[in-house]
């Protein structure tokens, strides 16, 4: 394998990982505060992509202008749909079960994931060319950014890749500012540390939980838009595997730690990319390289990390918490 191909594979992995990381933040924040695996978060990501596509299909002028200009409106649409779905899920599905044995919210989450997926599958109203449709039974075409790929050194990057990296970086910086500097952010940290004491200190824990769901939803929507732009299509099932990967990333990075989520995502993305494109060059493991095996490697990495460092890359040892 040439160095240039290695660089190409690494870059591709980082971009893919940034997308995983954006989704993983939602898992990790919710888990950090209410210890719930929000299984439906992958579907929130899917809804974000569809929300953005909906704006594009619903407002015809967007289809005529340069896609760069339409992006903010599409992003707003995606974020609105994702946040609404995430907050509604918290309010109507999870909150009533907060004191139930922990299996109950988990199974609710699985049910919710199936429902959201099926609602899009059966009733998605609008095709990307503005025609009405009944359900998104086939892959939906997502509009593409204009312009050719750019080459930096020996690495070829698409505009959508650059945009993904920029969005991920911005989102993480904003999140860091929010958690560290704002009142709500600090309240969130306090709630994650000890919900009871935080409550006694006058923090409205219900509000904090809603905020965590909302932020997770917003970042997932960003990832959903990036997915559409990079691959040119959305499917109703795309949330399942992405959600699984993102949760793996969250565990890898140390669940409860937002930076860990992004780091875990990038590690996972690079591992996948190298497994799919790089292992084929190494004779000893050549049979286990290639796109067919990348998910297996991602999973092996997760098991290894759990064995060696159960709290994840950036996690703290939390005893009974997890």
């Amino acid at each position: 394998m040439s160095l240039s191909e290695l660089m190409q594979l690494m870059t591709g992995g980082v971009v893919l990982g940034a997308m995983y990381g954006l989704i993983a933040v939602g898992y990790t924040m919710v888990y950090g505060i209410v210890q719930l695996i929000n299984f439906a978060h992958g579907e929130i990501f899917m809804l974000g992509g569809f929300g953005a596509l909906f704006m594009y299909a619903w407002i015809p002028p967007l289809q005529d202008m340069s896609l760069w200009l339409a992006l903010p409106i599409m992003l707003a649409g995606g974020v609105a749909v994702s946040v609404a779905a995430a907050v509604a899920a918290e309010r109507f599905a999870y909150r009533p079960l907060r004191n139930a044995p922990r299996l109950a919210p988990l199974i609710t989450a699985i049910g919710l994931a199936i429902v959201l997926q099926q609602l899009v599958f059966l009733y998605w109203p609008l095709r990307s060319d503005g025609q009405t449709s009944i359900g998104a039974k086939q892959p939906q075409v997502f509009p593409q950014l204009p312009g050719d790929a750019i080459t930096i050194g020996s690495v070829t990057l698409q505009w959508a890749d650059l945009l993904t990296l920029a969005l991920a970086l911005t989102a993480m910086l904003a999140l860091a500012y929010f958690v560290r500097r704002t009142r709500t952010g600090r309240a969130m940290q306090a709630t994650a540390q000890d919900p009871d004491t935080a409550g006694l200190m006058g923090i409205d824990t219900n509000r904090i939980i809603v905020v965590a769901f909302a932020i997770g939803g917003a970042l997932a929507a960003v990832a959903g838009l990036a997915h559409g732009l990079r691959y040119g299509q959305l499917t109703f099932e795309m949330g399942f595997i992405a959600g699984l990967k993102a949760f793996t990333a969250a565990v890898l990075g140390g669940i409860g730690n937002v930076y860990g989520a992004m780091l875990g995502g990038i590690v996972l993305g690079v591992v996948e990319s190298l497994a799919a494109g790089g292992l084929g060059y190494i004779d000893a493991v050549q049979q286990f390289g290639g796109g067919a095996w990348k998910d297996v490697w991602a999973f092996v990495i997760l098991i290894l990390v759990l064995l060696v460092r159960p709290q994840g890359l950036l996690g703290e040892r939390t005893g009974d918490r997890a």
């Binding site: 139930a100 099926q118 009871d196 699984l244 095996w293 098991i303 759990l306």
Partner: protein, 580 residues
């Protein structure tokens, strides 16, 4: 809101009660039931187009059979209410509730089919004299039953019957239940099945409220061996009352699914470990059995092993897989297991898909799977052939069904023995509070691993039979979620909907997951949506499942039950986030 909801069902009975004195009400129930029985001998519509052909006079058919049955049963319970001596045992906790349930069942199932006639054939004009008689007749018992005064009382102590009589009753009941299930399965039309479900649901509700079910479970608790034996006999008899193989292939698949669900119940229900990739263990068993079965598509076609060896290897490999997955993850607490097992389930599918000689080492024949798995032949009995036994014809699926009844018996035996043992109690302790359990000297890790391995073994066992029943084993049969069972999500749902920690719960849940799509074709592509909604609603309204384990019920409804018993539990509710 709750008070309004609770008040409403009382308003109507009270009003009716003022008009009708108890004796007259009872007479109305009896007379109405007799009339509805009579109405089933009249035609209900003029054209044979309506499913079940309700045009024949003097010979009830289709939905009429349901109304007829309910009418007769209501008459029996009515007689019990009148104080006919031996029948009083039918209503240990008062007869009014039973009569109400049965009257509701009559009215609901009859009115449903009458409405269906009017809607499907286009208008009330399609009703004939018999329909009007039935419509009015089924309302009378309802009015009468609602007007009856509430006569709920503490049940008198059970027992008193000689043991042989109790055992005889159990056998008759089990066989009767089997016939009812068979009738429901064999319904040819959606209308019949809906009527059947309405009838069974309301009748069971009413009879339960009158304490009969409690009485029966008392009898079965006193004769546990006889109960198991009766259930076994009824299950075997099911194969003999079938006309052809059509429902036996369904039943065989339900039993495979049920065996796996029971295995999962050990993991989820007893030890509280959430396994989201469980179907992979079924796949392991199926693949092992298919590969060594001598199928010409298998790489190991040259060395077919006998079935017992395939079963042992299948179980061994499944246990090995369970330990490999469990060992690293069970040390970590809680939810990691869910995600790792989910990943494992996906990995299994990818693995067997890749081990085809081009994408990886050649083992499993890749996406083509292993088709052409030959039929079993045990002790000279070829499962693929049709056999004549005692004058009955047993086809291919009947053979496998009977084999699977044996497998289920083994699984149930293992499950109940383990559940009642020290290990079972230790699992429950771990599930409730692992720290406290560890403090009491319970080795959490080893016991959890044991639960994992045992569950995997049972699923592997079921898999080895599945390979021969389905004759083809392919990777895409073993997914997390698909529109049809078996898949991991459906397995979990069978356990959760049926009732965690119980034996009958997962079997019932599994049967429903197979039968409902089969019978309600109009669900069509909305099956998964409804499935998801059911999961959510069940967790809100009845998290303990359809057949609750008593301990589970207490766990989920601690507050309500305690409230009903007059305790104050407000101080005991844990704050958010603490319950780990």
């Amino acid at each position: 809101m709750t008070s309004a909801l609770h008040a409403f069902p009382h308003a109507l009975p009270r009003a009716l009660g003022r008009v009708l004195p108890p004796r007259a009400a009872l007479a109305l129930v009896l007379a109405g039931s007799a009339a509805s029985v009579a109405s089933t001998f009249l035609p209900w519509t003029w054209t044979a187009k309506f499913p079940g052909d309700l045009t024949v006079a003097g010979y009830p058919g289709g939905n009429q059979v349901i109304t007829l049955t309910l009418g007769l049963v209501t008459l029996v319970f009515g007689a019990a209410a009148c104080g006919v001596r031996p029948l009083a045992r039918l209503v240990p906790r008062g007869s009014a509730q039973a009569l109400r349930g049965l009257a509701f069942a009559q009215a609901a199932s009859t009115w449903y089919v009458l409405a269906a006639i009017a809607v499907e054939l286009g208008g009330l004009a399609n009703w004939v004299a018999g329909s009007w008689v039935a419509a009015v007749a089924t309302l009378l018992p309802l009015a009468g039953a609602l007007a009856l005064p509430d006569d709920r009382r503490e049940a008198p102590p059970g027992g008193g019957l000689p043991r042989p009589a109790e055992i005889a009753i159990l056998f008759v009941l089990m066989l009767g239940a089997m016939l009812v299930v068979d009738w429901g399965l064999a319904t040819e039309h959606t209308q019949q099945f809906v009527g059947y479900v309405l009838a069974l649901g309301f009748a069971a509700w009413g009879v339960n409220r009158s304490g009969l079910l409690e009485e029966i479970s008392g009898v079965s608790a006193r004769n546990r061996v006889a109960t198991s034996l009766a259930a076994l006999v009824a299950a075997v008899a099911f194969a003999f009352v079938q006309d052809g193989d059509a429902y036996l292939s369904l039943a065989a698949n339900i039993l495979i699914f049920g065996a796996v669900a029971l295995g999962l119940n050990i993991v989820v229900g007893l030890s509280g470990l959430l396994d989201l990739g469980y179907v992979a263990f079924l796949g392991v068993g199926a693949y092992v059995a298919a590969l060594v079965s001598g199928s010409v598509f298998s790489r190991y076609a040259g060395t077919p092993l006998p079935f017992w060896a395939a079963v042992l290897i299948g179980i061994a490999v499944a246990v090995l897989a369970g330990v490999l997955i469990g060992a690293p993850t069970l040390r970590v607490r809680g939810d990691y297991l869910a995600i790792v097992t989910l990943g494992f389930g996906e990995i299994f599918r990818i693995l067997v898909n890749n081990l085809d000689g081009t994408s990886g080492p050649r083992v499993t024949n890749g996406p083509n799977g292993v088709p052409g798995v030959p039929d079993l032949s045990l002790f000279g009995y070829d499962f693929g052939e049709t056999h004549q036994v005692l004058g009955f014809t047993l086809g291919r699926f009947a053979n496998y069904y009977l084999l699977l009844v044996g497998v289920i018996a083994v699984v149930v035996f293992v499950f109940s023995r383990v559940n009642d043992s020290r290990i079972g109690r230790a699992w429950v302790a771990i599930r409730e509070d692992e720290t406290a359990a560890a403090a009491m000297g319970v080795n959490g890790f080893r016991l959890k691993l044991l639960a994992f391995a045992l569950g995997a073994a049972l699923a592997g066992l079921a898999g080895t039979v599945q390979a021969h029943v389905t004759t083809t084993v392919t990777p895409d049969q073993y997914q997390f979620l698909a529109t049809a069972p078996p898949n991991s999500a459906f397995l979990l749902a069978a356990v959760v909907l049926g009732g965690m920690g119980t034996i009958s719960g997962p079997l019932l849940g599994g049967a429903l997951l197979y039968v409902i799509p089969e019978k309600f074709e109009f669900f069509d592509d909305k099956q998964l949506l409804l499935f998801g909604l059911t999961l959510i609603l069940m967790m809100r309204l009845r998290p303990e499942g359809l057949v609750p384990n008593r301990r589970r019920r207490l766990e989920f409804h601690e507050e309500e039950i305690a409230e009903a018993e007059g305790h104050d539990v407000a101080t005991r509710t844990a704050p958010a986030g603490v319950k780990a």
